[in-house]
């Protein structure tokens, strides 16, 4: 089986409102797939259909090779879900919660015991197995939720904002766990608004906007698409400059930002940089950092700025240019109105 999930014109309508509109996507087996989208874009509705909680209005999907309409119980046996809201019984202990889940999946007593111990050790929650869930921290509860969702060894694990509200250390622990689970062969479907998390973990990313799949690729390919778009923009600007020179008109130009940290920043350095023809704007920040907006049309603009600093005996500690991030991709894709 090549694909863990395949959707075929998957659609969900609520009256006149189409929450998910003819969704077609294929998620490869044993990969981590980041499912992104703004609030209300149809992400949760899609997940609910894929986890057989709600039926689609039309179309269908295959999850772990089973049809969500015809074989929902087979699908349920193959999937696990860690919801955003920790949905454990607060007055049961950690172990009782996990045992309950195991029995709902019909596991044999021996396998159940072995698997519970194995998972609890893996997520490091065994020490709290006899504690009531209500007495655990948010991070601990999320770990228990993960154990409960993995107890039946699902092929596909859905994670809905698994690290929301967690401290940075706990977040990292969970990220490591997600990678480890993927290495073990689980396909992970990760819904998140944390772009760093998605960029760090996911092999592929799908962005849903207004019920339609607006982008689907690897994070790098999506970022490259933005770079390519920028490059084509640069070409257009160069053309514009040429036209401007020919016509003697001033056309508004776009710039790119660089941020430089100069240990011995002086007013003279700022003055010299300001006078450079390719510098469109310069801002001085605290702790000797300056941000410069350089004309996109200038090919050696960055070099000239650096040379000017060095000529004035400036010592550069760091320099950074702003490359597109997954967040830029997200904003770009989701800001487009669906026709």
């Amino acid at each position: 089986m090549k694909y863990a999930i395949e959707t075929f014109n998957l659609t969900k309508k609520y009256g006149d409102f189409t929450a998910v509109d003819s969704l077609n996507m294929k998620i490869e087996n044993k990969t981590i797939f980041g499912f992104l989208g703004p609030n209300g874009a149809g992400k949760t509705t899609t997940i609910k259909m894929l986890t057989c909680l709600i039926p689609p209005t039309s179309g269908t999907a295959k999850v772990a090779g089973y049809d969500i309409i015809k074989e929902p119980n087979n699908v349920r046996q193959k999937i696990g879900m860690v919801p955003q809201l920790v949905s454990l019984y607060k007055d049961l202990t950690v172990k009782e919660n996990v045992e309950l889940c195991a029995d709902f999946y019909g596991m044999s007593p021996e396998l159940k015991e072995e698997r519970i111990n194995e998972l609890m050790e893996m997520v490091d929650i065994k020490y709290a197995e006899n504690k009531l869930v209500r007495h655990l921290s948010g991070g601990q509860q999320q770990k228990v939720s993960l154990v409960a969702s993995l107890i039946h060894q699902p092929e596909i694990l859905f994670l809905d904002e698994p690290t929301i509200g967690l401290d940075p250390t706990t977040k990292r622990v969970l990220w490591d766990l997600i990678s480890e689970l993927n290495n073990e062969g689980h396909t992970i479907i990760l819904c998140s608004h944390d772009m760093y998390e998605v960029e760090l973990l996911c092999d592929h990313v799908g962005i849903i906007n207004q019920g339609v799949l607006a982008a689907f690729d690897t994070p790098q390919a999506l970022k490259d698409a933005v770079i390519k778009e920028k490059e084509s923009k640069v070409a257009k600007i160069l053309k514009k400059i040429k036209e401007e020179d020919e016509k003697g008109e001033i056309i508004e130009r776009e710039g790119r930002e660089i941020s430089i940290f100069i240990i011995n920043l002086t007013d003279k350095i700022i003055e010299e940089i300001t006078e450079l023809p390719m510098v469109m704007e310069i801002k001085k920040h605290h702790s000797n950092r300056i941000t410069i907006k350089i004309d996109e049309g200038s090919e050696n603009g960055v070099n000239t700025v650096i040379r000017t600093i060095l000529d004035n005996n400036g010592i550069i500690k760091s320099i950074s240019t702003k490359d597109p991030s997954l967040e830029d991709v997200f904003i770009k894709v989701t800001s487009k109105k669906v026709e």
Binding site: R76, F104, G106
Partner: protein
Amino acid sequence: METKKIMWMIKKDLLELWRHKPRLIAMLLFPIIAIVFFGYGMGGSLENIPIVIVEQSHGPVTNQTVTAIKNMSLYDVKEVTSDPDQAKEMVESGAVKAAIILPPDYDNLESRQAPTVILYVDSSDQLATQAIVPATQTLFARISGEVGVQKMQIESRTGPITQNESSNALQSIVNAINFEVDKIYGDVKYMDFLIPGILAMTIMFACMGGMGRSIAGERETGELARLFMTPTSIATVVGGKIISKLITETGRALILLIVAIVLFGVTIKGSMLLTFLLLILTALCFVGFGIMISARAETQEDYMQMIMPFQMPMMFVSGVFYPIETMPWFFQKLAYVFPLTYANNALRAVILKGTGITEIWSDLIILLAFTLIFFTLGVIRFNRDI
């Protein structure tokens, strides 16, 4: 500044209320339902109590008596029969609350022997008994006086009498009619009358209220969604909920029964096992009612608002505090739409009258039917996710 803040608090609360229509409707309906059902269900005077008259002789006194009884608004004469056994059976079966049995010599004015009228009353309905007995006593005292005068006139026409005869005649005139009350279940206190109804009502509140947390609450907090993501049918989850609720409610029914016996000295005239089974069936029925309503309730608060319009009328109309017969016509009909009425009837019959399963089978069947309908609708209407 502070005024603005206070204004905002008021505005916020009112807007919230306006935007949660079920809450708003329930809030507006509550006082209306409360006052209407409380007023008619508890505050009404006792009228139209169903009775049967047994006339075993014919004549002016009988006619006069039957007319007098029929003219009283307290009674609703269901039948006039000549068979005392049939009348008694009607009382015992609960078809009527009392039988006024006029003896065969009721119209014999020439007899020196005073005829004995028997009031055969279903004392398990304590309130009805309390009203019927004194009213009937007063009525017959009046009739006795009138009959006495007629007897005196007849006596005077038959010629002179001795002193001894005269004293006997006077005696028979004063006591022209004897009146006897036969309370078939002995003296029943109001508390005895109340307890079976309270048992049923407590179970109704506990079971319906409990399903709010159990289903709507778990749906709200996501626990139910986790269960439904496993290969498990709705019937299994709902079935499990029913059984667990039944276990706790059985325990509660036992405690209720013990408290009623120990603290209020309630004696169960019928079978203890039957009483207990009835309490469990009542619990099952209201758990089903709860499941039916909670099947579509998104939150616990919505659920609580949704059950209120059922609980309030049931509490007042199903005869817990006051006999159904005393209520306005519409409420009497409405009472038979509510399962609490049947639970109440059956429990009262077993606890106060000592009746067996053969006499309450219709109540049992109706309760069972309600239960089945509630469960079926509950499972059909149940959404894995709302």
